[in-house]
Amino acid sequence: MTHYKQVFDAMIKEVNKVVIGQDKVVEQIIAAMLCDSNVLLEGYPGVAKTMMVRTIAQLMDLSFSRIQSTPDLMPSDVTGTYIINESKGKREFEFQPGPVFANIVLADEINRATPKTQSALLEAMQEKQVTSGNTTYELELPFFVLATQNPIEQEGTYPLPEAQLDRFLFKIKVGYPSFDDEIKIVDKYTSVIREHKLKPMFSKHHLISLQGITRQVPIANDIRERAVKIIAATRVNKEIIQYGASPRASINIILAAKARALINGRNHVTLEDIREMAFPVLRHRIILNFEAERKGMTTDDAVLRILEHVK
C-alpha cells in the first residue's frame, strides 16, 4: 500500500511544478477521481483552478475539455448536436459530439449557465450518458465533471439548486496561496515563457482499477457508525442548520475517507479521514438557518461544531 502513497505523492509533486501552493486541493481532486465522482470548485478568479485540472488530466493521460458557461450557452453546446453532413452528393445528419465527450470536463462558472444547460451537464454527470434526440450516447469512462463557481459576482447567475448540488461529491474551496508560494509563482511565471510538458504517470485503465481498489479499503464498524452519526447530526441540529445532508452524503463521506486512506498509503480508514473529508462533503449540502447566517457563521463552522459534538 505504501507504493500507492509514493505514486500519489509523486503526482502531487508533479502538479506542484505547475500549480504552487494548492496541494490540499489537488489531493481532494484526486480523491474525487478515485471515488468516480464530480467536484465543485469555488474560488476567486486567478487561483489556477483551470490550470490545476488541466495538469491533472495530463498526468492521468485523460482527455480534457473546457466549457465556459455563459447565459446564452445552449444544452446542445454542451452535449453536441446534429449537423448536416454532405458527402458523395448525399446529405445526412451526423451527430457532432460536444465538449462533454471527454474524460475530464471543466465547466467554468457553471452558475452562469441557464438551468436548462446546467441540467444537460448534470445528466451527463449522473448517468454518464448523453441523450440527443432519440439517441443515447455513452460517455467514455472515466468521466469527471469539475465545475467552478465564483464566490463574487453573483449578479445574473443561476445558482445550482440543492438537489443538483447534492450530486457533487465535494465542494472544494480554492483559496489564495501563501505569501511564500505567491513569490514562487511570480518567479516562475514572470521569468520565461514555459510550456509545461508533463509525462503521464498512469493511464486511464490504471485509474479505473484504482477506483475499484478504493472501494475495497476496509473501514471499522465504529468509524462507519461515527460517519453516519455526523451526517445524521446535520439533520437534527436545528440551532444552526435549517436543512441537513441526505443519506447520499453518508455514502460520499465514507467513500471519500477510503480514497484519502489510499492516497496516504493506508489499507484502512481512520477517524481522521472522516473528519478531514467531512468539510468538502458537507459544505454544499447543509443550509444554515437565519440565526446562524446573522452571526456570520459559515457552513465550515457548522461542520466543525457538529464534529466536536458527535462522539
Binding site: 481498489i213 476496509p218 473501514i219 477517524l271
Partner: protein
C-alpha cells in the same frame, strides 16, 4: 486469512483468561471483606458469597463482551485502528483487506501478554487477600465481635420469650403458672438457650470451676449427686413437704431452680 483468524483467537483467549483471573481475584477479595464484616456483626458469614457472586457475574460479562481489539489497540499504537478494522472485516476477501490482515499479523507478534497484566495491582490484590484471610482467622480464634445483630433480631422476633428479663412479677407469674399445674419442665428455662443453631449443645458443666468448654462435647454422664446441699433446701423441704423428697418440688424450690437457670443465661 487463516493465520489472522488464529492470531485473533489466541488474543481473545489470552485476554479473556486475564479478565477472568482478575475478576476472580477481585471477587475473592470482596468475599473476604464482606465475610469479615458479617463476622463482626454476628451474621452468617457465608452470606458474603452473594455480593461476590454478583460482582463476578457482572464484571465477567462486561469484560468478556468488551472488544478485545480495542483493549489491544489501547496499549499498542502501531495497531491503532488497524486491528479493529481487520477484525470487523474478517469475512471480507479482497487484496486490500488481505494486505491489512498480513500487516496486523506481523505486528501482533510484538504484543506481549505481560503488557495486559498490571503486576503492581496484582501484587497488591494478592497481599490484600492474604491479609484479609489472616484477619478472619484472628477474629474467629479470639471471637471478636462488635455487636450481635442476630440476637437483636431474636429479641424482636420473640418479644414474649420466657427467658426475657422482665420484672419480678414476670417471674412470679411464671412460677405461679408452673405451680398451678404447669409442667415441671418449665422451670428449667428455654430449651433454645442450650442449643446452638439447629444443634443442641450438649455441654458438661464443671461444678467446681463453672467453665463451659466448647471443645469437650460428649454425652452427658449420669452423676451421683452426693454433694452437700444448701441448708435452705433441707429446711424448707422439712417444713413443707416431708413426703416429697426429691421427687416433687415446692414453690420455693422451683423458684430456686428457676433463678439458677435465669442466672446462667445472663
Amino acid at each position: 486469512m487463516k493465520g489472522f483468524i488464529d492470531a485473533i483467537r489466541e488474543i481473545n483467549f489470552t485476554i479473556d483468561s486475564i479478565i477472568l483471573f482478575n475478576t476472580l481475584l477481585n471477587a475473592v477479595i470482596i468475599f473476604l471483606a464482606v465475610y469479615i464484616v458479617l463476622l463482626l456483626v454476628g451474621l452468617q458469614p457465608l452470606y458474603a458469597l452473594i455480593p461476590s457472586f454478583l460482582y463476578l457475574v457482572v464484571h465477567l460479562y462486561r469484560g468478556i463482551t468488551k472488544s478485545k481489539a480495542v483493549i489491544v489497540e489501547e496499549r499498542y499504537d502501531k495497531l491503532k485502528d488497524k486491528l479493529r478494522t481487520a477484525v470487523d472485516n474478517i469475512q471480507v476477501e479482497n487484496p486490500v483487506v488481505d494486505s491489512l490482515q498480513s500487516e496486523v499479523v506481523s505486528q501482533i507478534k510484538e504484543v506481549e501478554v505481560a503488557s495486559f497484566i498490571n503486576t503492581n495491582k496484582l501484587s497488591y490484590n494478592i497481599l490484600v487477600a492474604v491479609l484479609l484471610c489472616f484477619a478472619i482467622i484472628f477474629l474467629t480464634v479470639f471471637g471478636i465481635k462488635f455487636f450481635d445483630i442476630s440476637a437483636v433480631f431474636d429479641r424482636i422476633s420473640n418479644p414474649f420469650s420466657i427467658v426475657n428479663r422482665g420484672g419480678a412479677s414476670d417471674i412470679e407469674g411464671s412460677i405461679m403458672s408452673a405451680s398451678e399445674g404447669g409442667s415441671i419442665d418449665d422451670i428449667y428455662g428455654e430449651a433454645s438457650v442450650a442449643s446452638l443453631g439447629d444443634q443442641n449443645l450438649d455441654i458438661q458443666i464443671k461444678s467446681i470451676t463453672q467453665e463451659i468448654s466448647v471443645r469437650d462435647i460428649k454425652d452427658v454422664e449420669p452423676r451421683q449427686f452426693e454433694e452437700v446441699f444448701p441448708n435452705e433446701i433441707f429446711v424448707e423441704s422439712a417444713e413443707t413437704c416431708l413426703e416429697c423428697g426429691y421427687q416433687g418440688f415446692g414453690p420455693a424450690e422451683q423458684e430456686l431452680i428457676k433463678n439458677y437457670f435465669l442466672k446462667t443465661t445472663q
